[in-house]
Amino acid sequence: MLRRHSRAGWLALIVTAACGGQQLGEIPEPQNVTANVSVQIPTVVELSWTTNGLARGYVEYGATPELGSVTPLPEVESQAHSATLLGLAPGTQYFFRVITWDGSAGVSAVSSVQTGALPVAGLSPSVQGAGATHFTLLPSGSNVVVFGPGGAIVWRFADAQGRAISRARFAHDGSGVLYSVAMNPPAAGSEIVFVPWNGLGPIATPIDNLVGDFDLLADGTLAALVSETRDGVVGDAIVEVRGGVPSTVWSSWSCFDPATDVGDAIIPGWSGANALDYEPPPQDTYVVGLKNLSSIAKVNRQGSCDWVLGQSGATLSFAAEATPFAHQSGFRLLGDRITVFDDEGAGTPRVVEYLINPAESTATQNWQYLAPAGVVGAAGGEPMGVSASQIAVNWGQAGQVELITQSGSQGWLLSAGAATGFGEVALDLNAL
């Protein structure tokens, strides 16, 4: 700690000299640094420290003393600080140091902490190939699991009631994971559960008639697909839930007519919605997939469709050389490109990308990637965006995730060892 010396006269000057020079300013040195391994999820390490004055801080950590990873830097200054180390392998020693900033930079000594063992719950993950840097979040049975780039399970949470989980997403504020528990058929008692990274105190938000998929808005609003019945017809709706109160923003009747857009009841009911994505501002829209109608609709917050691509109620026409998708699962919309996990349109599961042009009401097939022979039973999957060009294809029922670009496979394949539901990927669990 440095202190500005008083200079009240000659005596002070002489004392200053005797003390060994002039020092000005105080470094925000991290103090009381403690590291606790989560009891619930022993690959999560929670750090805390204090500073004498207001400061911001983060943690550098890694499996070697060279460190390499960092936690986020908070925007707000405080004197009591905390950070969570994520993506750690079980049973491994990790090194860390705390960095602080209040206009000056402070640093702690490098310390280490040992993570604990993590039950794998019937999964037998393995990875072929290399080159991936992302983490993969997948539900499998009643578990939600995060796989590291090397295939190791770095986080796992089991639903306390052993219920099947169909969709998992990272919380946008980086605080944990959410997953949905839907009834089959949709009914009351379904819910979306938030689990903080340390696994302690999960919070459930009941949403009746959940279909399965949901997404998050930036303000924490939950948006979910729910089943809605009108005049005996079982359609679907998007509900937004704020403070536990749901409000419907769209239903499949808004853009489709059960009389003309009949569907084929692959999923019991009429429209068979099975996938939902929210596009943050400036789009501020939803994209919803309706498996029974083999259509995908872009829906605005006013409850109408900007466009529909597919085989029912379409406002966009496939170009002549395009092979339309059918009974699709997940998708990814990125600008004017939509990448679709197509279960049946090409006779074998595939990932297909279309360039859409709403102004001209056309969709042109850009590329496709057929499920490779080694991926057995691929269905009900999704393309998960790793970057603008890289996609991690979740081959759903096959329990495998493959890294591809439009040029083809990148040679990295994660086998979870069990069927998986819808999930997400992240390059950095600390920067979600």
Binding site: L13, A17, I27, Y58, I99, G103, A105
Partner: protein, 511 residues
């Protein structure tokens, strides 16, 4: 006693060769490339330095022209004084670690530590004094012509990629004082003197790194910028007049007072050229790709790269009291205590005024405008205590002294260009008399107490001529968020250490 013996020599020798010798000495001195100055450190003259600078009252050699011109009148014989100071000046700096906001990954700036750097040109071989004094046959007058380099660290060089580079990369100051002194004594107990000097600075160079990023206009690269460039200002100023007034008073044989001061506020205004070389990778690539010279403009018209560098000089005052130990009529020892004041608060900044110059850096126009290296120096006081002890009359005198100097800069404005912290020093010396010749030797050790400043407290900030962030630097749209409230990143945080080993040898010949 040394003084009595000296006076005896002075009285007997008034050579008609004086004028010719003086002229020759002046010519010789003027031809020397006197590497010295900086802003002064140390004491001119081996006899004065050997007393830790406590020489204002004694002032009985030609270093008196700088310390107390009235002392010249004590030299009653023609005196030739030639000497040189050799010094080894260690100056190290370790920049404080910082966060590299310009290279944040996912909003997290890396923690960056810096290697220590040190002055690569520590040895200074030339720091001379050369002069002659004469009474011109007048009983109560004495005159002197002296040229000397003010004591100091003339040259410093640090790595162009070192942690200090945004403060300074190198500097070189060649300064020579040309002096004409006249002194008069009213009696054996009182004398006054006046030195008229001109400070010649034939070479003044200062180099530092700038962030030439004119693209985003946001100064947020505390560690390095792809648009880093080295700006070098080099110029000269051959005439800066100043005057030193002095007096001594000896109310009793054992007691003497001295008082002197540089009384004209002056400043060096060096007409200079500004040169720029690329340091950052982006500028290097542009320079290599385009292969053209930098274009200079004023009011969008091609212009010379002429600029003005202004360095104020201080007003000084010295006061000393000397106790003389007598053995019969001869002096056997003395002890002197001096206080020195220097008005360094005149130096608020080193100002480079380009008069609206802008540089075309291979496609990017960067306004140079006014570059101000913030100094905010403060007036200083120094204390000097010294003594001469005659071990063998007319043969050997030992001397010693010590001093303390207040810091010239608040640590917030610490910089590698000058040692600006508190300084302590001590000296040991001797004079050997061989007939009419006296050889004075001294070893002087000067130590700056460490100066440490944090980034939040530092006030010397990176020069970013293209920054769009306006004062008071709190516009979040135009200023970098981590540096709101300051014009750019602080670059002088760290630990400064300095010390100097110096030796002087002077030869005085009285005839």
């Amino acid at each position: 006693m040394v003084i009595a013996a000296m006076n005896e020599k002075q009285n007997r020798a008034r050579s008609p060769r004086t004028a010719a010798i003086a002229a020759a000495l002046c010519t010789l001195t003027a031809s020397l490339t006197a590497h010295a100055g900086g802003f002064y450190a140390g004491v001119k003259g081996a006899r004065a330095a050997g007393r830790g600078g406590a020489f204002t009252a004694r002032a009985d050699d030609l270093s008196a022209v700088a310390l107390n011109p009235a002392g010249i009148v004590k030299l009653r014989s023609t005196t030739l004084h030639a000497g040189n100071r050799f010094s080894h000046n260690t100056h190290t700096f370790t920049r404080a670690p910082t966060l590299d906001w310009g290279n944040s990954v996912n909003g997290v700036p890396p923690y960056v530590e810096f290697d220590g750097v040190e002055n690569a040109t520590p040895f200074q071989p030339l720091d001379p004094i050369l002069g002659v004094s004469t009474t011109l046959g007048l009983s109560d007058w004495a005159f002197a012509v002296v040229a000397y380099a003010p004591p100091g660290v003339a040259r410093q060089e640090f790595p162009a990629d070192g942690g200090q580079r945004y403060m300074m990369i190198s500097r070189n100051a060649i300064m020579v004082h040309y002096d004409l002194t006249a002194a008069w004594r009213a009696s054996d107990s009182f004398g006054i003197g006046l030195s008229l000097q001109t400070v010649a600075v034939p070479e003044l160079e200062y180099s530092l790194a700038l962030d030439g990023n004119a693209g985003s206009g946001v100064a947020t690269n505390p560690v390095s910028s792809p648009f880093d460039m080295q700006a070098t200002i080099s110029g000269s100023d051959y005439f800066t007049p100043q005057a030193i007034l002095g007096a001594w008073y000896k109310p009793a044989p054992f007691l003497e007072f001295g008082l002197s001061g540089q009384v004209i506020p002056t400043q060096i205004e060096a007409q200079s050229k500004l040169e720029i070389e690329p340091l950052g990778e982006s500028l290097r690539q542009r320079a290599e790709a385009l292969g053209t010279e930098i274009g200079w403009f004023r009011n969008d018209l091609p212009s010379d790269n002429d600029v003005t560098l202004t360095l104020p000089l201080p007003i000084t005052a010295r006061a000393g009291v000397r106790y003389i130990g007598l053995s019969g009529a001869r002096e056997s020892f003395d002890v002197e205590f001096d206080v020195q004041y220097e008005s360094w608060s005149r130096v608020e900044s080193f100002t480079l005024n380009s008069n609206g110059l802008s540089a075309d850096l291979w496609g990017t126009r960067v306004p140079v405008d006014v570059i101000e290296v913030q100094k905010q120096w403060q007036d200083t006081i120094s204390l000097h205590l010294g003594s001469d002890v005659v071990l063998a009359q007319d043969l050997l005198t030992l001397r010693g002294g010590a001093y303390w100097e207040a810091p010239v800069a608040d640590p917030a404005y610490a910089n590698v260009d000058f040692t600006s912290g508190e300084q302590l020093g001590g000296a040991l010396g001797a004079s050997i008399e061989l007939g009419d010749m006296e050889i004075a030797l001294v070893y002087d050790y000067r130590h700056q107490l460490p100066v440490e400043v944090t980034e939040a407290a530092g006030k010397v900030t990176q020069e970013v001529p293209g920054s769009l962030c306006p004062a008071p630097y709190d516009d979040p749209n135009l200023c970098a968020e981590p540096y709101l409230g300051q014009r750019s990143p602080t670059v002088n945080a760290g630990i400064y250490r300095a010390h100097t080993h110096a030796g002087s040898i002077d030869v005085l010949y009285r005839f």
